[in-house]
Symmetry: C2
Subunit: 229 residues, 2 copies
């Protein structure tokens, strides 16, 4: 790691001079001033990825929701809370050469969040949802500003490969890392990951390994792709 830090300081490493965006963590969508909708993303995979990319010399913009783990060293940290804030931060970070969307962005927000704490009056609240911006599809669909490489994540609980491959096509991103986040797998909130790496060329099944190892493997693939491109 010292060697990498030195290499980075001297502008070395295969990603030296490359600006890369990573999103990480969950988003929180307010219901009222004290309640919100969250998800079990800890930010561990995104954080490991930010670190791995920085270690290869990249200039990393790290846009993070309220994660359980602290952001990695050596990156530019942008903290956000909601999907709408994350979208804004992502657009502000452009242009970048590669963008990896590891955040578990809420698909929906509460359509009408309450400005004061909802009282327990006996009447049960019904929360109607509104669709959040689809940041991955939006960035993958950009014209001139589109990053050369757009990578998404797919957290599934069933038919992982089919759902993830469909997601890759639908979003227009280049690669998808898909995983099974069913409670029994211990992946969401845990230290290990087991991913399918899905590209235009097909699917690679990576064995279960530490999130740091997944991150380094993905960072190396990103470095290869940017060097070829």
């Amino acid at each position: 790691e010292i060697v990498e830090a030195v290499a980075r300081a001297f502008g070395q490493g295969p990603l030296a001079g490359r600006r890369v965006l990573v999103t990480s963590g969950p988003t929180h969508e307010p219901i009222d001033p004290v309640r919100y909708i969250a998800n079990r993303s800890s930010g561990a995979q995104g954080t490991a990825l930010g670190r791995a990319l920085a270690e290869l010399g990249a200039e990393v913009v790290f846009v993070t929701g309220p994660a359980d783990v602290p952001p990695p060293p050596g990156v530019e940290v942008v903290r956000v809370r909601t999907a709408a804030e994350m979208r804004e931060a992502v657009h502000a970070a452009l242009p970048v050469e590669a963008a990896v969307f590891a955040a578990a962005v809420a698909d929906w927000r509460v359509a009408e969040a309450s400005a004061s704490k909802i009282k327990k009056t006996g009447e049960l609240p019904v929360l109607r949802m509104a669709e959040n911006p689809d940041i991955l599809a939006e960035i993958a669909g950009l014209g001139a500003d589109r990053p050369g490489l757009v990578v998404g994540f797919a957290a599934e609980t069933d038919e992982v490969e089919a759902h993830a491959a469909a997601k890759r096509a639908r979003k227009g991103c280049d690669w998808i890392l898909a995983n099974d986040v069913s409670e029994g797998t211990g992946i969401m909130g845990g230290t290990e990951n087991e991913v399918l790496f899905i590209t235009e060329g097909g699917t690679e099944r990576w064995p279960r390994m530490a999130k740091e190892t997944v991150a380094r493997r993905l960072a190396a693939r990103i470095a290869e792709a940017l060097q070829e491109g």
Copy 2:
């Protein structure tokens, strides 16, 4: 603190030999395997209170939801996630001489949580709520097993004193500590608290102070009440 630890080890302190229950932190109510409803309670006030009671010699059962801060030393920790789990843990901890309900228990859970991750199909989900057990009212309403002293918290965003006094009467608890958790106050998730201490005798307005100071003041009042009782 060393003196207190020694005193405790020798079974001293005004609460020596007294069994006290403290609940702390938020609860998380599942929407599906990855999404849940949460609230902005950090567990800081409940944790400070558990510590303060232990420092006075109490045998503390500390029932905590998924808090941001680690539980205090010297207490028996019971970790739970949902309101239903917290209720079960509280009943299992009885009998106790005093019970302080500092947890921000969700008033509602999702009526029909989904066993698999809800897909983004274009149709917007509508979350119907079901009422959670009212743990404070339940324990305050017990007969023979009722703790001699039952203390609740009221997190309000408007008309704090009126809402909290009404809550004290409605729940049947002895004391209420009420605070204003509007975002502007920085209390929920912050390090300071500003409470109204509401008893049968009336309302004391405590100045804004560190959550540790609120905890020590409340612990001292609990010690007085148990010694008188």
